[in-house]
C-alpha cells in the first residue's frame, strides 16, 4: 500500500505540475488559440454586420441580436459543457464544440434570411463556444498549478492581440469573397479549435460513478442526481462559492461599461473622433499587458491570489469612476492616463478571476464551478449595458453611468472580502469533495496536496 501511494502521487504529479509536465504548456497554447477563436472572433464580427444590414435590409438592432444570441448561448451552455466533461471525456467535448462552432458559420454562409443567422451564427456556434471555453479553462486550471495565473493570463491575452489582426483580416475577406465566402472561411478557421481540443489528453474518469447499477434502468431521481452532480449544482449551496459568484456578477455589471461607452463619452467631452478611438486602443493595449504581467506577478507567490484580485478589481472600480471626472475637466492627458490605468487593471483582474476558483471549490470541482459561474455572470452582462445606456438617456451624459458602473465593481470587490479566511496571509486548504469511495479518496488526497502547493510556495515567499 505504501509503495503504491507515492507512486500514484508521482504519476499525478507528473500529470498535474505545470513547468515539469511537458504536456501542460502546449495546453496554454491551445487555450490561446481557442480563446482567440471564441471571444476574439465574437468581437470582430462588426464588419459583417454592416454587410448584413445592407443585404437583408434590416435594422442595426435586429442584426446586433446575432452576436447577443451567440454570447448568451455560450454562457448559457457553459454548465452543459462542464457537465458533459464531467460525464464523458473533456477532449471529445471540446472537439465537438469546435466542430459545432465551425458548422454554425458554414451554415450561416448559406443563410437566406435573418432567422437563419440567429440559428446558425447565434445558437449553433454559441453552443459550440459554450462546449469549448469553460472546459479549456478548467483543463488549464486543473493541469497547471504553480504558474496558473500566468498560464491564464497568457491564454486570455489572445483576445486583445487577435482583435488587432481579425478586424483588418475580416474586412479583407468580406471584400474579396463577399460575406458568404468570408463566413465560410471563418467556419474553417473556427474548426481550428478541434486540434486544440485534441491536445487535451484523454482522461481517466475519476468522477464517473463507481457503483454500477444492477438494474437496467436507473430511476428518474437517480438520473437527476447524477446530472446535478455533473453540473456541480450542490456548489450553489456553499457559501464561499455563492459569495464569489455574486462578487463576480457584480464585477461584470460594471466591467463592460467603459468598453461600450468610453468612445462616445470622449467625443461628448469634446475630443475628436480620432482621439477618442485612440484612447480605446491604448486601453486595449494595456489590457493585454495587464493580463500577462499580473499573471506573471501573481505566480511569484508574494501575495495571495485573492488579495491581488481584490486589489486589481478595487483599482479598476476606482478608475472607472475617475474616467468621467478626468474628461469633464477637458484634459486629454488625464483621460489617457486613467484609461491606460483602467485597461491595465481590468486586464490584470481577468487573468486572476478564474485562477482563484480552485482555491475556493477545490481542483476537481473546477469544471462545474466555472460552468455555473459563466451562466450566473451572464445575467450581469445583460443588465449592465442597458442600465448604463438608460442612465445616459436620463441624465444626458455618461457621468452617472460610469459612476454606477464603478460603484458596482467596488461593490463586487467588497463582496469578495467577505469570503471566509479572507484576512489570513496564506490560503486555507481548499475543500475536497466528500466521497464514499476509497479510490476517490486517495486521488483526492493527492489532488489536495497539489492544490496546496501554491500556498506552500506563498508561505515560503512570505518568509
Amino acid at each position: 500500500m505504501t509503495n503504491h501511494k507515492p507512486e500514484a502521487k508521482s504519476r499525478s504529479d507528473e500529470a498535474a505540475e505545470g513547468p515539469d509536465g511537458g504536456w501542460s504548456w502546449p495546453l496554454v497554447g491551445a487555450l490561446f488559440v481557442s480563446t482567440s477563436l471564441v471571444f476574439g472572433l465574437m468581437r470582430s464580427l462588426g464588419v459583417f454586420f454592416v454587410e448584413f444590414v445592407q443585404y437583408f435590409e434590416e435594422s442595426a438592432q435586429a442584426i446586433s441580436w446575432i452576436s447577443s444570441t451567440g454570447l448568451a448561448a455560450q454562457q448559457f451552455f457553459s454548465p452543459l459543457g462542464a457537465a458533459l466533461c464531467n460525464a464523458y471525456d473533456t477532449r471529445v467535448v471540446v472537439m465537438t464544440g469546435g466542430f459545432l462552432a465551425g458548422l454554425g458559420f458554414i451554415l450561416a454562409s448559406q443563410a437566406t434570411c435573418l432567422v437563419h443567422l440567429y440559428l446558425s451564427m447565434g445558437l449553433i456556434s454559441g453552443l459550440g463556444w459554450g462546449l469549448v471555453f469553460t472546459p479549456m479553462v478548467a483543463t488549464v486550471v486543473a493541469n497547471i498549478t504553480r504558474r496558473r495565473a500566468l498560464a491564464l493570463g497568457l491564454g486570455f491575452s489572445s483576445i486583445g492581440i487577435v482583435s488587432f489582426i481579425f478586424n483588418p483580416l475580416f474586412q479583407f475577406l468580406v471584400e474579396t469573397y463577399a460575406w458568404r465566402g468570408a463566413l465560410l472561411i471563418l467556419g474553417g478557421l473556427s474548426l481550428n479549435i478541434v486540434p486544440c481540443g485534441a491536445l487535451i489528453r484523454p482522461q481517466r474518469r475519476p468522477k464517473a460513478p463507481e457503483k454500477v447499477d444492477s438494474e437496467s434502468r436507473p430511476s428518474c431521481a437517480e438520473v437527476l442526481q447524477r446530472v446535478a452532480s455533473y453540473v456541480e449544482l450542490p456548489l450553489l449551496m456553499e457559501r464561499p462559492y455563492l459569495t464569489y459568484t455574486s462578487a463576480v456578477t457584480l464585477l461584470n455589471v460594471g466591467y463592460f461599461v467603459p468598453y461600450f461607452h468610453l468612445v462616445a463619452h470622449s467625443r461628448q467631452a469634446g475630443f475628436s473622433d480620432y482621439q477618442s478611438a485612440f484612447v480605446m486602443s491604448a486601453a486595449g493595449a494595456t489590457d493585454i499587458l495587464g493580463r500577462v504581467a499580473s499573471g506573471w506577478f501573481s505566480d511569484l507567490g508574494k501575495f495571495r491570489l485573492l488579495h491581488l484580485l481584490t486589489l486589481w478589481t478595487g483599482l479598476a472600480g476606482v478608475f472607472i469612476m475617475l474616467l468621467p471626472v478626468s474628461s469633464v475637466f477637458g484634459s486629454y492627458a488625464a483621460l489617457m492616463v486613467i484609461s491606460l490605468l483602467y485597461g491595465f487593471c481590468s486586464g490584470a483582474m481577468t487573468s486572476l478571476v478564474f485562477a482563484v476558483v480552485p482555491m475556493i471549490v477545490g481542483v476537481e470541482r473546477v469544471m462545474g464551478a466555472l460552468g455555473l459561474l459563466q451562466l450566473i455572470e451572464s445575467g450581469a452582462g445583460l443588465l449592465g449595458t442597458p442600465l448604463s445606456g438608460l442612465l445616459k438617456d436620463v441624465t444626458g451624459n455618461y457621468i452617472a453611468s460610469f459612476m454606477v458602473a464603478g460603484g458596482f465593481v467596488v461593490l463586487g470587490t467588497l463582496t469578495m472580502t467577505t469570503l471566509p479566511h479572507y484576512f489570513s496571509c496564506t490560503d486555507p486548504p481548499s475543500p475536497r469533495r466528500r466521497s464514499h469511495d476509497d479510490n476517490d479518496k486517495s486521488l483526492h488526497f493527492e489532488l489536495e496536496q497539489i492544490s496546496r502547493s501554491p500556498s506552500d510556495a506563498g508561505h515560503r515567499g512570505v518568509q
Binding site: K9, S10, E14, S109, Y177, G181, L184, I185, L189, P195
Partner: protein, 273 residues
C-alpha cells in the same frame, strides 16, 4: 370727338409712361457659358422706388457675402473659379417694394462621377453600377460603354435581358444580369451629355466566382485534419512508453536507479520524500 381722342391719348400716354417706369434690370453678362471665372452684374434702371439693399441668390439659397444694405441700383457678384458646384441659376435681388430680381444662368460641362470606381459582383448574380452628376444644366443624355482592351462597345438598353439602363437627369444606373466571369469583367464608362458637352467616368467591374471562397476553406479544413492526425499519431507513439512506465513503477522498488529512462521520475520521487 376731338376731346375723346385727347383723353384717350392722354390715358394711353399715362399707361405707357407707367409701363416705361417699371424697373428694369440690365444683367451683364446675360449668361455665362463654359468660363473659368466671371463677374455678374445687375443694373437697376428706370426705377423711382427706394432701394433698401440688394443680395444674390444661388439656386434659391442666399449667397451670404452678397448681402448689402447700400441703396445703389448696381450690384455685382464675383465668381473666381467656376466649377460644377458653383454653376446654376444666380438671381440678383433688389430690396424694393415689391422686390425685383433677374436671373443669370451659369452653365458648365456636367460633372459625372461615381462613388465606387471598383465594383464587385457575384457570378450568376446581378451587378449594379451607378454614375451621378452635379452641376447645371443636368445631363439630358446618358450612355454607357463597355471598354475591353481599348475597344469600346456601346451598351444599348432594351436589346437583351442582360443590360438594363435606368437614367434620370442626375443619376444613371446600369444593371447587368447573370454575371459571367468570361464576358463581363472589364471597364464600364458612363457618358453624361448636356448642351455644352460630355463628361464621363470609369468603373471597373470584378466578378467573383461562386466557388472562390471554397478553395481557402478546403485548405483550412485539410490543415485541421492534418493537425489532428499528427496529434493522435504522436500520442499513439507515446502511449507504449507510458504503458511501460506504469509497469516499471509498479514493479521496481522506490529507490532503484536501474532504468535510465526514468531518471526524471526518480528525481521527483526523491523530492517528494
Amino acid at each position: 370727338m376731338k376731346l375723346l381722342w385727347a383723353v384717350s391719348a392722354l390715358l394711353l400716354c399715362c399707361w405707357r409712361a407707367s409701363a416705361s417706369t417699371a424697373p428694369n434690370i440690365i444683367t451683364e453678362p446675360s449668361e455665362v457659358v463654359n468660363q473659368t471665372s466671371a463677374v455678374l452684374s445687375c443694373n437697376l434702371t428706370e426705377s423711382s422706388l427706394p432701394i433698401k439693399g440688394s443680395h444674390w441668390m444661388h439656386n434659391g439659397k442666399l449667397v451670404d457675402s452678397s448681402m448689402s444694405t447700400d441703396a445703389t441700383p448696381y450690384t455685382t457678384l464675383r465668381l473666381d473659379k467656376i466649377t460644377h458646384s458653383s454653376s446654376g441659376k444666380y438671381e440678383c435681388v433688389f430690396m424694393t417694394d415689391p422686390e425685383v430680381k433677374q436671373t443669370i444662368e451659369v452653365k458648365t460641362l456636367p460633372h459625372v462621377s461615381t462613388h465606387k470606381h471598383s465594383e464587385h459582383g457575384n457570378e450568376n448574380d446581378k451587378g449594379v453600377m451607378v454614375c451621378d452628376s452635379h452641376g447645371y444644366p443636368l445631363p439630358t443624355d446618358w450612355t454607357w460603354v463597355k471598354e475591353v482592351d481599348g475597344i469600346q462597345t456601346p451598351i444599348i438598353n432594351g436589346t437583351s435581358d442582360k443590360y438594363e439602363i435606368k437614367s434620370t437627369p442626375n443619376k444613371t444606373t446600369l444593371t447587368i444580369n447573370d454575371l459571367s466571369i468570361n464576358t463581363d469583367i472589364g471597364d464600364y464608362i458612363c457618358f453624361g451629355t448636356n448642351e455644352l458637352g460630355t463628361s464621363h467616368d470609369k468603373i471597373h467591374l470584378r466578378v467573383r466566382s461562386r466557388l472562390a471562397a471554397l478553395w481557402p476553406f478546403l485548405g483550412i479544413v485539410a490543415e485541421v485534419i492534418i493537425l489532428v492526425a499528427i496529434i493522435f499519431i504522436y500520442e499513439k507513439r507515446r502511449k507504449p512508453d507510458e504503458v511501460t512506465d506504469d509497469d516499471d513503477s509498479g514493479a521496481a522498488p522506490l529507490k532503484s536507479n536501474s532504468n535510465a529512462n526514468h531518471k526524471d521520475k526518480n528525481v521527483r520521487q526523491r523530492n517528494s520524500n
